[in-house]
Amino acid sequence: MSSPQNSRKSLLWWLSDKLIEWVSPEIADNLKGDLQEMYLRKLKEKSKLVAEISLLWDTATCLKLATNKRGLGTRFDSTINFKMSLRVLAKNKSYTVINTIGLSIGLAAALIIFLYVRTEYNYDQYHHRSSDIYRIVYDLTEKNEKLPWAIIKGRWARMISEEFPVVENFVRIIPTWGSKSLIKSRDIEKGLYEHGFVWADSSLTSVFDFHFVAGNPKTALHAPNTIIISEKIATKYFGDASLAMGKTLNRDNETNYKVTGVYRQMPSNSHFHAEMIASLMIASFEARENYWGYSYLLLEEKANLQALVDGFPALVASHLPENSVARLNLQPLEKIHLHSELLYEFEPVSNRTTVNILGGVGLFILLIACLNFVNLSTAYGTQRIKEIGIKKVLGAYRSNLVKQLITESMLIVIFAVIVAGASVYLLLPFVEWLAGKALDLSGVFEIEFLLEAGILVLLLGILSGAYPAFYIASFKPKQIFEKRHSKGKSLLRKSLTAFQFAMSIILIIGSMIIYQQLRYFQEKDMGMEPDQALVLPLDYAENLGKNYTGFRNELLRHPRIKNMSMMSNLPGELIRMWTGDIRPVGGTEEEKVRVKVFTTDYDFASTLGLRIVEGRDFSRSISTDSISSVLINRTAAHRLGFSNLEDAHISTPSVQHDLKVIGIVEDFHFASLHNEIEPLVIYNDPGPKGKLVISLETENLSSSLESVEEVWNKYEPDKPMESFFLSEYFNQKYTNEKNSMNLVISFTILAVFIACLGLFGLATYVMHGRLKEVGVRKVLGASVPGLFLLLASEFLLLVLLAFVVVSPLAYYLASLWLTDFAYRISIDLWIFGFAAMFVSLLALITVSYKSLYVARVNPTKILSDE
């Protein structure tokens, strides 16, 4: 072991070495040796963190070596500077507080956004071989239309790993496609519905990292009836992780699984979250081959990816009939969360543009805060011009003054960092609530990261402090006492303020657009009425499925229950929807249309409140309706080229006989507003199906709900009823947008607030420069309101200028964001008008305090100075 750390020399060591060399070049080697020895001992006895902190402390104690030989001179100088700076800051409390608050808000906001963006970008990177894991995805290319799927049949993963030696391992994960599972244990006899049940190959734990608290990860899933569960489930069903081992869980009254492992909750930044993982060995080899699911490959390190993908077509061709359109591809695990645009994704993924926008907002805020700092420091410096003058007359060097001013800035920066760090720490739960997910804090509390962040912030402080320091220190004493300085050079500060406001305006416009788009989502006419539609999942209610007619009749006797219909899946539940090909009877291959398929029973259209444009809904009185009739949506009718319903028959490979189109329903959003409306075919199949939708009267919803539950308990006494409203389900689809909107809007408010602080600083500076002018004007008879307008208008012009310059950019950015949505708002010009008005008003309020003060001042007080 020649080096203290890994091969890379860490920042901490570098810093320590440099400091030691600087304070005492003569015995540097000796000291470094001692430090290293002590570090290694601490590392062995305690932890890495303790060792690093001790190293930092030990290095710090060595600083006194610097004064050992060189005498006291340098130390004296810096002590005086430090004391002076503290006194100056303590004397000007309002300045110190405003500046510290501005900077710490900026830093805190930037830090939070940094943590958030980092979480988004670090998805799935907690697996120790995450960069070697790929998901096999399925491209169906047809008529130039790409339909990439995240799922494939299980056999491909096995075949690929057998054929290509670069594949070290593979794992297949089969989800329950959005349904909950009824889980029972001995303690919870009646069972509870749970999300997050999956089946997986036993190789799961060798591909992905799971943190086992009990059980052996290597062998946990080998036997057919085994299951590993999360700590949460273990606690819920067995009281404790240690008690769960070897116990039995039952799923859906069908299969018993023996618990062979308990793992710690999967981190929030994983693209899927499984609570219970059962061994896939429960299924036969053939079944495992044919199940659709997610397949992951673990490749050798630095494997040639392209060569592997190039080998896929040959593999596919040898197993599928010719001219097959299926194409396999690989998707890096780390890119799933931000770069995936696949159908049938495990969990909703994030929108990369939104994450980047948020990152941009963070940079904006940081920039605004720094400019603000520069502005305030400079403005404030001009008020202490006499102090500078006196010091210079008494023989201070320019370098002395610069040092002292920079010390002041650094002190403020350090205060601000402390305040920001503490408030981020305290606000973290709130931010996580706002963001809708836990932030990834791994590594944040390591000394390495803290040190890097600290150095970055200090650099920022020095840079922001440098300009005001040099500017103020450059005043000539003669000018100062002749009072010839004054305004003039405020152009830079003005442009800085204008720049701050420009950014605030972008943020305001941006958050208004985001807000409007979400409102649009929520208020858009979906083509149906989901508000009073109550959904009951029927997946495991066999009794009810068998006696559906009786159940239905009993419910319909209730006056406030209007109608009901069973369906294979809910509108919006794309993951459970079938896809098929249809063509008009006698149509050619070219006329084939790819459609989505809804399987329902009678009363589908009236339950969901769909409008029938032509023809009729399914009817119980017409016998053919249950076998050979379908409804299609308007888009499908258009694609198929049906102008009327006479002789509108379609055929599809999966059904023997032709199907008659009996009605066309108006397009409705059966997927989500992210996707365009696709052609849709609605079958009527009287058999049991996954979901029951009941439409209720608006009044007395809770009592209607109770009546439904009463009837349910009659038919399914063993199973708790679950229900939710369809509209809630839709709203959930937009949680990602809602969360990012929350963040963007909160940070916009902060940014605007900081910009106002900056404007306040500028106003202070400019007003003091114009005191004499105001005095003269007053003597000559100017009124207070007139003066106020004169003083304030300058700033209003500044803000308006910022607005004019920045509007096109805001427009461009907004339209860029909106292109991600299939259904989107058009950008209204009044938003811009509103933003301009809002910002101007804020600016006016901000400057009015100082303007009024100056406008009302007694002219004799100013002019008697002369």
Binding site: G33, D34, L35, Q36, D58, T61, C62, K64
Partner: protein, 112 residues
């Protein structure tokens, strides 16, 4: 005061003397921690060592490199004759004065 020896400096000299040929930065620190309740910081220790070496009370030479020091050599310290002399003087001075204290105490016993 040419031969002035601070309390901390004296402690360092004593420790080096105790350690014999094995006195270097970390071992001196450990020994001091062991024998007194004080825990000197490594910076303070080296400040003292540097001063003592300038005054000529100790001398140093480089020993072998070890892996736990990242390949850096240990610098060993030992007392010079002057250092030993000063230590003795300080000790004698102390003993003499302490004797005076005990004598005084003896004399003030109520003897009559």
């Amino acid at each position: 005061m040419k031969n002035y020896l601070g309390e901390f400096e004296e402690l360092i000299l004593l420790t080096i003397g105790v350690l014999g040929e094995e006195a270097y930065g970390v071992s001196i620190k450990d020994e001091m921690k062991l024998r007194t309740t004080k825990k000197p910081s490594i910076g303070a220790l080296h400040t003292g060592l540097q001063r003592l070496e300038t005054k000529g009370y100790i001398e140093s030479w480089e020993g072998g490199a070890t892996s736990e020091r990242g390949g850096r050599k240990k610098r060993y310290y030992r007392l010079t004759n002057l250092g030993m002399e000063t230590l003795k003087k300080a000790h004698e001075l102390r003993n003499e004065m302490f004797d005076v204290i005990t004598k005084l105490a003896w004399n003030e016993q109520p003897s009559k």
